[in-house]
């Protein structure tokens, strides 16, 4: 019965909205806390979703984060309409960043966003199409 969705919420994310950036991930974290998930699992979900959310805010025009809670873990799909990633393999390398000067001034551009998402999830899939957008699917299992 691992396919049964126990809880689902879809968050809209606006590109360029740095004021509200991160709020969706914090809400996901708080929901999981209320449900009583293991703190380490919550932390992994929060970090993975925050990085994905920030990527939409920084690079996307608009996007959404679809969060599903199933009996075996948390399923996150984050997709945006945006420029897409020209070279996904390169973007996955730790330290590689295309952040603008403005983003760097805000503390982004460490080149750890996508690697952080992968590191904190048990399943990580990314698909990007130029001038269309990017879709990231992540699964964080309850028991690692």
């Amino acid at each position: 019965m691992t396919d049964e969705v126990l809880f689902r919420k879809v968050f809209a994310i606006r590109g360029g909205d740095f004021k509200r950036a991160g709020e969706a991930s914090v809400e996901v974290r708080n929901i999981l806390k209320e449900v009583g998930f293991d703190p380490e699992v919550i932390r992994r979900v929060a970090i993975a979703s925050y990085e994905a959310e920030m990527n939409v805010v920084m690079y996307g025009v608009r996007g959404k984060m679809d969060v599903k809670l199933k009996s075996d873990g948390i399923y996150l799909v984050v997709e945006d309409e945006g420029p897409g990633i020209p070279d996904v393999e390169l973007a996955m390398q730790e330290g590689y960043s295309t952040a603008t000067e403005e983003m760097r001034e805000m503390g982004f551009g460490a080149g750890m966003g996508l690697p952080n998402m992968k590191r904190n999830s048990d399943v990580f899939r990314i698909r990007s199409r130029m001038n269309k957008g990017t879709r990231v699917k992540m699964v964080i299992k309850k028991n690692g």
């Binding site: 740095f18 914090v26 919550i42 932390r43 929060a46 970090i47 925050y50 805000m106 503390g107």
Partner: protein, 117 residues
């Protein structure tokens, strides 16, 4: 070492006066790069940063950090302080640099690796 002891060592101003500073701090991380904090900072750590926008507070919440010390005499906006109050993230500000804060805390027994898995 608790937050109040750290505040005294850093001669820091408390910006979120309604939050308990008795909580114990087991480790710390200094960085101005938010994704590096998410990569290398362990749960319950103290964040030392010169980055004063609201994302420093968000990161503390997302990564389950115990508090934030803003360095180099920089003050976050009232909006950032308000966010910290709402989310119950203790926040303080010191005139010292990241480097000085690290040196003082390290030499007083706060080891970065203490609480790492």
């Amino acid at each position: 070492m608790n937050l109040e002891e750290i505040r005294k060592l850093l001669n820091a101003d408390v910006l979120t006066s309604n939050i308990d500073f008795g909580r114990e701090v087991l480790s710390a991380e200094a960085s101005d790069l938010m994704s590096d904090v998410l990569s290398f900072c362990c749960s319950g750590a103290l964040l030392i940063t010169g980055l004063t926008n609201s994302q420093a507070v968000r990161i503390a919440e997302v990564a389950d950090l115990c508090a934030v010390v803003f360095t180099r005499g920089k003050r976050p906006s009232e909006e950032t302080i308000q966010l910290a109050r709402e989310r119950k993230i203790p926040v303080m500000a010191t005139k010292l640099s990241n480097y000085e804060v690290c040196g003082i805390l390290y030499s007083n027994g706060l080891d970065r690796t203490q609480n790492q898995k």
